[in-house]
């Protein structure tokens, strides 16, 4: 399979590993359902990146599922993150949002869905570590502006709409400075409950810090 997906690793790094200083996110070890959904979203124009959409345009679901499973099955060690950027105060604010959210603004904690270790939950919710800060900023910004979409109902669009540009900067700065645990494969969580309704994720609603509205 690795021979068939050299088209992917050209940008996403050897074995989907990605360099921490680049823009392209790592894809190795991300949950298969998440990767499959993203491949479909690029192909079907819910996410926009001409090179990705062009590559995937004429590939069917079965093959996209196989490509997703291939990268999901890789469990690679990650190099330590780059030196933190931004101010300490910014990273503190970011950590607070990631760990606790902001109930007053209806913001769930990132941890509620993406796991206490932020390594995601199999098979649909991606980890947030080992990703370049620019990539995180761009994704949250794109969700906020409606440029990136997911399967409806699009819970990340709801969350991103409640984030200010400062919040996004803070969250990205903190996340990008965290190391990836040695075994970063996302755990399967049969007890998973989500604070918001999420398309493409098969889980009941009603998490610990479900927002009031």
């Amino acid at each position: 399979m690795a021979q068939r997906v050299l088209a992917c690793t050209g940008c996403h790094g050897r074995e989907g590993h990605a360099a921490p200083d680049g823009y392209y996110p790592r894809i190795a070890g991300k949950p298969a359902g998440y990767l499959f959904n993203q491949l479909r979203n690029f192909r079907d124009q819910r996410r926009h990146y001409a090179l990705m959409s062009g590559l995937l345009e004429f590939l069917d679901d079965d093959y996209l599922r196989e490509i997703a499973a291939h990268f999901a099955s890789l469990d690679l060690p990650y190099p330590p993150p780059l030196a933190p950027v931004g101010s300490a105060a910014q990273r503190t604010a970011g950590e607070a949002l990631v760990r606790r959210g902001d109930a007053a603004r209806g913001l769930p904690a990132c941890n509620d869905c993406h796991g206490a270790q932020m390594t995601g939950r199999a098979p649909f919710i991606p980890g947030l570590l080992g990703l370049p800060r620019d990539y995180l900023n761009a994704q949250l910004g794109a969700w906020r502006s409606g440029q990136r979409r997911a399967q409806a109902p699009d819970c990340m669009a709801v969350v991103a709409a409640r984030l200010s540009p400062e919040d996004i900067g803070a969250v990205s700065a903190w996340l990008a400075a965290q190391p990836v645990p040695i075994h970063s494969a996302p755990p399967v969580d049969p007890q998973l409950r989500l604070p918001l309704p999420c398309g493409g994720v098969d889980a009941p609603i009603g998490g610990a810090s479900a927002p009031a509205r």
Partner: protein
């Protein structure tokens, strides 16, 4: 005296204009002789019945709509199939494809006669002249029964409410009068004429290639008015705006298949992949959305027709103006770094996975547009029954500069027996612009 001369002159001019207007209107009238009718046995509707495996007009229509490649233009990327909304860029502005589902915003109110009028005469239900981005210069030769079956299928689709967007063409191309003049010059309703001296398979192939498949829409040159020389011209051309070169089907040094075994032609159209070559760029779309659904008999008929095309060498006058490519050290180094691990040190490729470049006629094409697109964007062949797990090439748009691409392509075009013109940095820049669309 002078006033009288002026008024005579004016009257003459007015009479000439009136005559021209009347002529244009007359040349635009619907085909009076053919409300319908059908093709001889072996070519049209009756054959499609057998091929679609059903006499049910909806099943036949689905087969024909696929053979006519309707889906690609009539679907917005990521949108509902056949609900229209794809913006088709032309040198004259944007043509927005209409909704052709069974909704009132689509074809709900259309009768068989309305649909036939569009396919055969290029006029909409309300009498408006249609733009030839809709390939009615090809579809005009359709059999009436096939037209009826296609409408039956489209009307069987779930209705999607989506108002068709008006076109965004520049003046004067946005005027019906301009279109009437264009049609007077370049379009007449026509019928498919079978050639009794040829076998039935050749005639069926001609019907599919010239009429439904509208292959010449890409595989021929367009003049400054955007008109092709007609459905029989398959001598290759640069596709406007997309800037992919659709190679000549009559020149075996380009994409001609005169020396291909029939089974390889069928494999190419059915699976997008054959021992002789694979379907890249816009041809990948043709395979993915159209030819892979056709029966082996119909693909074989297309092969019979394509093999029998009169051969014609593409005039390479443009190319002779460019200097021949030379294998620079820089180009060789770039090739060794980025290409050789898959395509081989001597361009030999890996059978079944990475195409050989040595001896590959796509390497020599002029203009070198397709090579530039392939390097910049990479690509996957379409998933098909015969190639369900295709290999892919990575895009190098973010890795290689325009000068890098020019050097590595010039290296290819001067290596392993290739003797084509050099690729300049300027050319790469021009095609890179088109690639970012």
């Amino acid at each position: 005296m002078k006033a009288r001369k002026t008024s005579i002159a004016l009257a003459v001019v007015a009479a000439v204009l009136l005559f021209l207007a009347a002529l244009v209107a007359w040349l635009n009238r619907d085909d009076p002789t053919r409300p319908g009718g059908d093709l001889p046995p072996g070519v049209g509707a009756n054959v499609a019945t057998a091929r679609a495996g059903s006499a049910d007009p909806v099943a036949r229509g689905e087969y024909l709509v696929r053979a006519g490649s309707c889906l690609g233009c009539h679907t917005e990327p990521g949108g509902e199939p056949y609900a229209g909304g794809r913006a088709i860029e032309t040198p004259f502005g944007i043509v927005n494809s209409p909704n052709i589902t069974a909704d009132v915003t689509g074809l709900a109110a259309w009768s068989n006669d309305d649909f036939w009028r569009a396919m055969h005469n290029g006029r909409s239900r309300d009498g408006r002249l249609l733009y030839p981005a809709f390939p009615y210069p090809n579809y005009t030769r359709l059999a009436r029964a096939d037209s009826d079956a296609m409408l039956a299928y489209l009307k069987s689709l779930a209705p999607v409410a989506r108002k068709s967007r008006p076109h965004e063409l520049r003046f004067p191309f946005d005027q019906q009068a301009s279109l009437a003049v264009w049609r007077a010059l370049f379009f007449r309703p026509a019928r498919f004429e079978t050639d009794p001296a040829r076998p039935a398979s050749w005639n069926r192939g001609a019907y599919l290639v010239e009429t439904l498949g509208h292959c010449n829409a890409c595989h021929s040159r367009r003049n400054v008015f955007g008109a092709t020389a007609g459905p029989l011209d398959l001598a290759g051309g640069l596709i406007p705006v997309q800037n992919w070169y659709a190679p000549s089907l009559t020149d075996n040094a380009e994409a001609g298949v005169g020396d291909w075994p029939e089974r390889e032609i069928v494999a190419f159209l059915k699976h997008g992949l054959s021992a002789r070559g694979s379907a890249q760029g816009p041809m990948a779309e043709v395979v993915a959305r159209s030819t892979r659904y056709l029966s082996d008999d119909d693909l074989a008929a297309m092969a019979v027709y394509l093999v029998a095309l009169p051969s014609g060498k593409v005039d390479r006058a443009d190319e002779r103006k460019s200097p021949p490519a030379s294998a620079s050290e820089r180009g060789a180094k770039l090739y060794a770094t980025h290409c050789a691990s898959c395509h081989g040190e001597k361009g030999e490729g890996v059978a079944g996975a990475y195409p050989a470049l040595a001896g590959n006629r796509a390497v020599d094409l002029s203009p070198p547009a397709n090579l530039v697109h392939m390097v910049l964007r990479g690509g996957y062949l379409p998933t098909t029954a015969g190639n369900p797990r295709p290999f892919g090439m990575p895009p190098f748009a973010t890795v290689l500069s325009d000068a890098d691409v020019a050097d590595v392509l010039s290296f290819l075009r001067a290596s392993w027996g290739h003797r084509a013109a050099a690729v300049s940095t300027l050319e790469v820049r021009r095609y890179r612009g088109a690639a970012s669309r």
